[in-house]
């Protein structure tokens, strides 16, 4: 017997999903989260779901886990005190950063510069220098370094990062320094920039490696707790964590390179969306994960989410691969305001958060939020969260009325305006991942999830002209599906940096073989036999002299000529022109994936198309400038094939779906709600 367990920790609930690897059967469960130590709920949930499903702990083969432990450590600044060792002359590398002041002209007047992630008083210099050709310009002065390390001891650093100039070409000095640190500061974890990010650009390399050090003790403690508790429970399941790029990494690797976990949370949602897209048979999907304070959007093409070479959390942007998820400060809790001077309607990025929350929650919030606008318009009926949670409709009306008064609009017009503005913000984010990358949104479906996504999904589909709009079942548990169904992933890359005029297919193939051997061995060490591995080879191409590369897939043996032709096509699609400059092959990258889970989505009973047995009650909503008759349905009672004309509201425990006038919702065999315009 072999089972895999996916666990996703959310702010309120920890979701669990067990999959029988033999027959694909699934079991779902959720337990309240334990924010003080998330591993408590994880283990409690694991025991509970296995108990209910009758699975013994030793039958679990894989324990797959998406976690926001690293993300929260950064956002809440509960990070380790990091000592940073840099090349002599570069002590202020994090202080000067890239010299950029975000915003327009005069933004410097109001910009609060964040403090460096590794304190300057704990940044020391190593007397040494490597040149831009990789040669040693000045050998490491060991005695001088040891004297400087005394400073780190005085400062009581909890982790150390080493980032020396040009170490991406020659890492011997970084390793020498690491050896000395190990002697001088035993038991302090050390991260090397040459291990974490062997790439040009000293500031980004330093910052990324510092971020790694900063979350390392927290992640290490967390993973250690989980492993210990799993062991105590009697399970020897292999623990893997979901990386920001949607792949899985072993627990052991995650303890040394946790910077790859910073976007583990959103990656779970996108990975889950990929899985739903497969069951719904829609290879191209835009995802809209709308929560209380922010919304994440991403683009999935042919069942693959786009990747980017950066990860951003709060003010921090590091150079670690992540799914190309754009986040905007627009969510259910986003506050609407009208600045006195310009009389413009602004929504967000300020958020009422969970406390005091929207006025409707009755927790002391008085400012109008997106949720309040939804309540006023009737889109969010009172029995949110299965009736256990009352909404204060009057409070919402009072709050939104302040906007109406400031703009000289009626209450309903103001509420509809707030919804339009927040939708427009999300529209901008969706365009960033689609139109701006040269994709036509009409070729994509739109999948809406997260607490508020299903309320806004239909409207976003209309703005993007992306149909159908897919609302997956239990939008809250989507992340756990992602955790459980994604695959182990290992990747590695080499700088190649040769013009196509200066190299040949043999040179390229030799590098591909070398990198392939490395990733294959690494994934084999994680327990995936080479024959079960799937390889993807990518080469980054640009015109000589450009700063940005276009990554292109390049299967072994496909040849440079074909690659160059495809690059020219892609460049034209993205930027409307080609150049006569020769193309440069910048990086060669190989990604190895493990086996996918054998898991099919569960089907629901088929009905006769009439949803009336799921009807809860009649209702009225404000839509397109008038009060409209609508019906509220209970999602759990809907059957496959049911057809629901808009306007309608469909409720379930963790979310509410809104179907707009002129649109129709259909339920498919897997309980997905698919919304399309009526005329289609």
């Amino acid at each position: 017997m072999s089972y895999r367990l996916g666990v996703d920790v959310g702010g309120t609930f920890t979701d669990l999903l067990v999959i029988d690897e033999v027959n694909g059967r699934t079991y779902r469960d959720k337990v309240p989260s334990t924010p003080h130590d998330p591993s408590e709920a994880v283990i409690a949930g694991a025991r509970q779901i296995c108990g209910h499903a009758g699975i013994a702990p030793n039958e679990l083969a894989l324990f797959l886990h998406g976690t926001t432990v690293a993300t929260n450590a950064v956002l809440e600044h509960k990070i380790a005190k990091v000592g940073l060792i840099v090349t002599e002359g570069y002590r202020h590398i994090l202080q000067i950063a890239r010299s950029l002041v975000p915003g327009g002209l005069a933004a410097w007047i109001v910009w609060p510069k964040p403090e460096p992630m590794a304190p300057l008083e704990a940044t020391i210099e190593a007397p040494e220098r490597i040149g831009a050709d990789g040669a040693v310009v000045r050998p490491l002065d060991e005695a001088g370094l040891r004297a400087n390390i005394a400073r780190l001891r005085e400062e009581g650093v909890e982790a150390v990062t080493i980032c020396l100039m040009n170490s991406y070409l020659n890492d011997t000095h970084e390793r020498l320094v690491a050896g000395i640190v190990a002697e001088e500061l035993p038991d302090i974890p050390v991260s090397l920039s040459a291990d974490i990010l062997p790439e040009m650009q000293e500031y980004e390399r330093a910052l990324t490696t510092v971020a790694n050090s900063a979350v390392r003790p927290t992640v290490s403690r967390y993973v250690g707790n989980l492993e210990r508790e799993l062991h105590n429970w009697g399970s020897d399941a292999k623990l893997s964590l979901l990386r920001s790029d949607g792949g899985l990494m072993s627990a052991e690797k995650s303890r040394s390179a946790p910077v790859n976990l910073l976007m583990s949370g959103p990656a779970g949602g996108v990975a889950g969306a990929v899985w739903v897209a497969r069951s719904a048979g829609t290879p191209n999907v835009l995802t809209l994960d709308m929560g209380g304070t922010s919304t994440d959007v991403a683009l999935i093409e042919n069942y693959q989410a786009r990747l980017r070479r950066e990860t951003s959390v709060g003010h921090l942007t590091v150079r670690a691969s992540s799914l190309d998820v754009k986040t905007v400060g627009a969510g259910g809790g986003s506050i609407a305001a009208v600045p006195e001077l310009t009389r413009a309607l602004r929504v967000g990025p300020q958020s009422a958060g969970a406390v005091p929350g929207p006025a409707a929650y009755g927790r002391g919030g008085e400012l109008p939020t997106v949720t309040d606008a939804n309540v006023v318009l009737g889109y969010l009926p009172e029995n949110l969260l299965g009736g256990s949670f009352k909404l204060d409709r009057e409070a919402s009306r009072r709050a939104v009325q302040t906007i109406a008064d400031a703009l000289g609009l009626s209450l309903m017009e103001a509420a509809a305006g707030i919804i339009s503005i927040v939708n427009e913000t999300m529209f901008g984010a969706l365009r960033l991942v689609s139109v701006q990358q040269g994709y036509d949104p009409r070729d994509f479906a739109l999948m809406a999830f997260g607490g508020a996504g299903p309320l806004h999904g239909n409207a976003m589909g209309a703005l993007m002209q992306s149909w159908p709009v897919i609302i997956p079942p239990s939008p809250g548990i989507l992340c756990a599906y992602g955790d459980a169904t994604t695959r182990l992933r290992v990747d590695a890359q080499r700088s190649f940096n040769k013009l196509v005029t200066q190299t040949g297919d043999d040179d390229v193939d030799a590098v591909i073989d070398e990198v392939t051997a490395q990733v294959t061995a690494e994934l084999a060490a994680e327990g995936v036999a080479p024959e079960d591995q799937e390889l993807r080879i990518e080469i980054d191409v640009r015109y000589s002299g450009q700063a940005f590369e276009v990554p292109l897939e390049s299967p072994r043996g496909s040849g440079i000529a074909d690659l160059v032709r495809r690059f020219d096509e892609e460049h034209k699609r993205l930027f409307t022109f080609n150049l006569s400059a020769p193309q440069e092959l910048v990086n060669v990258r190989v990604v190895a994936h493990g086996k996918a889970a054998n898991v099919a989505a569960q089907t629901i009973e088929r009905g006769n198309g009439d949803p009336s047995s799921a009807k809860l009650r009649d209702h009225s909503v404000w839509m397109e400038g008038a009060e409209r008759e609508a019906v509220i349905y209970d999602r759990s009672k809907l059957r496959a094939g049911d057809v629901i004309p808009g306007p309608a509201v469909i409720t379930e425990m963790d979310s509410t779906t809104l179907v707009l006038i002129g649109h129709v919702a259909r339920v498919d065999d897997y309980a997905n709600i698919l919304i399309t315009p009526e005329k289609n």
Binding site: G89, Y90, R91, H92, I93, Q95, I96, S99, L100, V101, G103, G104, L105, A106, A107, W108, I109, V110, P112, K113, L120, E121, R129, G131, A132, M165, N166, Y168, M200, Q201, E202, Y203, E204, P339, L341, T342, R343, A344, L345, R346, L409, A416, G417, S420, I421, E424, T425, G428, R431, Q436, Y543, G545, Q546, A547, F548, L574, F575, T576, F577, L579
Partner: protein, 623 residues
């Protein structure tokens, strides 16, 4: 003859009323289009000045040429007044001559592309982008000869021409221009990037028109202009006095031995209108530090400084221009007569912002920032490497940001929007040099309750013989402090030879021969301090000593005595502070009069003071 706009469809746009929500949606979409312009440019340009540092400026204007989104205000009306020709569908205009667009771009290194956007036979919008080219030919590498006496010495100068005429690309024109530069590869790619960026924005405008209707879109741009007008009117009436206030500051020298040059601006309100008058500014220079200041651009700078604090999300546009009148005397440093040289205009451009700050803040010192907008320090290094290949570096540096009412000025950051430094590993990989030191120079920021940002010390070790040009300012005058804050330290450049001898070199020079192994210490200015330094927390001063941002000696300026172990000596600090109580209520601290600076110049800077300017030409400022 002004430009003649040819439209197949002559019917005027119908002005329709726009509900506030649609208006905000269109505003948002325009903002996104502008972000997309920047992204396209940076991803496809090749010169490090644009692709790494971001020295480029986008614009989307309405059909009348008024800026709806952008940074520096619209220059299209000036261009239309001066352009003798037709504008037709499928045209694209290319230009670089400041004298042909009323100074919309201020030196010939900036290449400007203008795209009229047509829809259904009517002009609905303009998109434009300009970017700084690293080399456009002329007498020195980098094309900014300090000693130029006329614009003819500053490289290729492009009058408004059609790079596309009715959709037809003018290959020969581009070939002719590229033939004039030392870096045709960079220029060609950057020009393509400017074009691609304009096209992206044009496509977005077209989509918006399709989504909302042409009339709605055009009416919305009108409403956005009006929104800015209303906001600015309220602001002006409530915060600008009818009494005249004035402020003056200086560009240190002209690079050929004369200086400082005074820039003076006065401000007063008449009704709802602000009058900004540069009378009292020195006459134009014989050398290249002249700055042809476009009046509209200055209106935009003024507007942005006024409104920043009140609605930071607002999208600035040209709507408020009628509320502001700018008077710049002909023949002055800010409106030189053709064919005055213009390439070194960066110093006066930077100084304009310090002047604006000083002018606006005088009545409300609590909102006043210190000085620090020195200039954009440039370094050019060119020659042939060991393989005999030509190399040419153009790099923009940064100083310290001024102390401000909301806190310290950041160390070594850019006051220009969107500008970044170049990674040193990138420099070392592609140019024969090594950066041996790159740090925020301790004590260079002026002391204050909120400290001025430190300048940067960047030590270039040259690995090939070559030639260096330097453009910097604030080496003679200080970035001033305010409300008791001290002035920041001044810029310095030191050439260190292989044998260890050090020479202070000028902050404006061309053709400095450097040899393999030489080190150039390129030191930029620190920002001025804000508020009484004695009010700064002593623990913070000691912490900054441990951070290498302030020295133990520098801590004395805050009245703080720091022990050898870099902790606060409480007793000694109390004593020192008691002896230092502030005895003046002057708002500004310039670090001395011009006469005093002149006297101390050689001793303090290692350089002789500049000679008072003599005006060789008839052009005189209208005093």
């Amino acid at each position: 003859m002004p430009a003649r706009i040819v439209q197949q469809n002559q019917s005027p746009f119908a002005l329709v009323s726009i509900d506030p929500v649609t208006l905000d949606i269109i505003e948002n979409a325009l903002r996104n289009a502008r972000i997309e312009m920047d992204a396209t440019l940076v991803r496809t340009a090749m010169s490090p000045g644009i692709r790494e540092q971001g020295d480029a400026f986008p614009l989307i204007a309405n059909h009348e040429g008024k800026m709806i989104v952008g940074q520096f205000g619209s220059f299209i009306d000036g261009f239309l007044r001066a352009y003798d020709g037709t504008i037709e569908e499928g045209d694209m205009i290319f230009l670089s001559d400041p004298y042909s667009c009323e100074g919309a771009i201020s030196h010939a290194n900036d290449w400007l592309v203008l795209l009229p956007v047509y829809r259904n036979g009517r002009l609905v919008a303009w998109t434009a982008m300009f970017g700084h080219q690293s080399d456009i030919g002329g007498k020195v590498a980098g094309s900014m000869p300090i000693d130029a006496h006329a614009i003819f010495e500053e490289g290729v100068r492009i009058p408004p021409v059609k790079i596309y005429a009715k959709g037809e690309y003018n290959q020969d024109l581009v070939k002719l221009i590229m033939h004039q530069t030392r870096k045709p590869d960079w220029c060609a790619a950057d020009l393509n990037a400017l074009i691609a960026s304009c096209r992206v924005a044009a496509r977005r405008v077209d989509e918006m028109c399709a989504r909302f209707g042409d009339d709605v879109y055009v009416s919305a741009t009108q409403a956005l202009l009006e929104r800015n007008y209303r906001a600015m009117k309220t602001l002006i009436e409530s915060s600008v006095s009818t009494d005249t206030v004035s402020f003056e500051d200086y560009v240190c020298d002209d690079g050929v031995g004369y200086g400082p040059y005074k820039i003076k601006c006065s401000m007063r309100r008449e009704g709802s209108k602000v009058i900004l008058d540069f009378t009292g500014t020195d006459p134009q220079s014989d050398a290249s530090i002249n700055f042809y200041l476009n009046e509209n651009m200055f209106k935009m700078f003024f507007g942005i400084y006024m409104i920043m604090v009140f609605d930071p999300q607002i999208m600035f546009n040209d709507g408020f221009y009628d509320l502001i009148e700018v008077n710049i005397p002909e023949g002055s440093l800010l409106k030189p007569r053709y064919p005055a040289a213009l390439s070194g205009r960066t110093h006066a451009l930077g100084r304009i912002f310090d002047i604006l700050g000083g002018l606006l803040g005088q009545r409300t010192p609590e909102f006043l920032c210190a000085a620090g907008f020195s200039s954009s320090p440039h370094l050019m290094y060119s020659g042939r490497d060991k393989h005999g290949d030509w190399f040419q570096l153009f790099q923009i540096g940064f100083g310290g940001i001024p102390g401000k009412p909301f806190g310290d000025g950041p160390d070594g950051h850019s006051l220009w929007p969107g500008f970044t430094n170049v990674p040193n590993e990138f420099l070392e990989r592609y140019f024969p040099l090594r950066i041996e030191r790159y740090e925020a120079l301790a004590d260079s920021g002026g002391a204050g309750r909120f400290r001025g940002g430190n300048g940067i010390l960047m030590s270039y070790r040259f690995l090939a013989d070559g030639s260096v040009s330097i453009h910097d300012d604030r080496w003679f005058t200080h970035p001033w402090g305010v409300n008791g804050g001290k002035p920041g330290q001044r810029a310095r450049k030191i050439l260190e030879k292989a044998d260890g001898t050090k020479t202070v070199v000028s902050n404006k020079l061309d053709n400095l021969a450097v040899e393999e192994g030489d080190i150039l210490h390129f030191i930029t200015w620190g920002g001025g301090g804000w508020g009484d330094p004695l009010e700064r927390d002593p623990a913070l001063v000691a912490r900054e000593c441990r951070q290498g941002l302030v020295t133990r000696e520098g801590a004395q300026a805050y009245g703080v005595v720091v022990t050898e172990a870099l902790a606060v000596d409480e007793a000694a600090t109390a004593e020192l502070r008691a002896s230092m109580r502030r005895d003046t209520n002057d708002v500004f601290d310039f670090g001395g009069t011009i006469e005093a600076l002149r006297e101390r110049c050689q001793a303090e800077t290692g350089l002789p003071p500049p000679c008072p300017p003599v005006w060789h030409h008839q052009a005189m400022a209208a005093e």
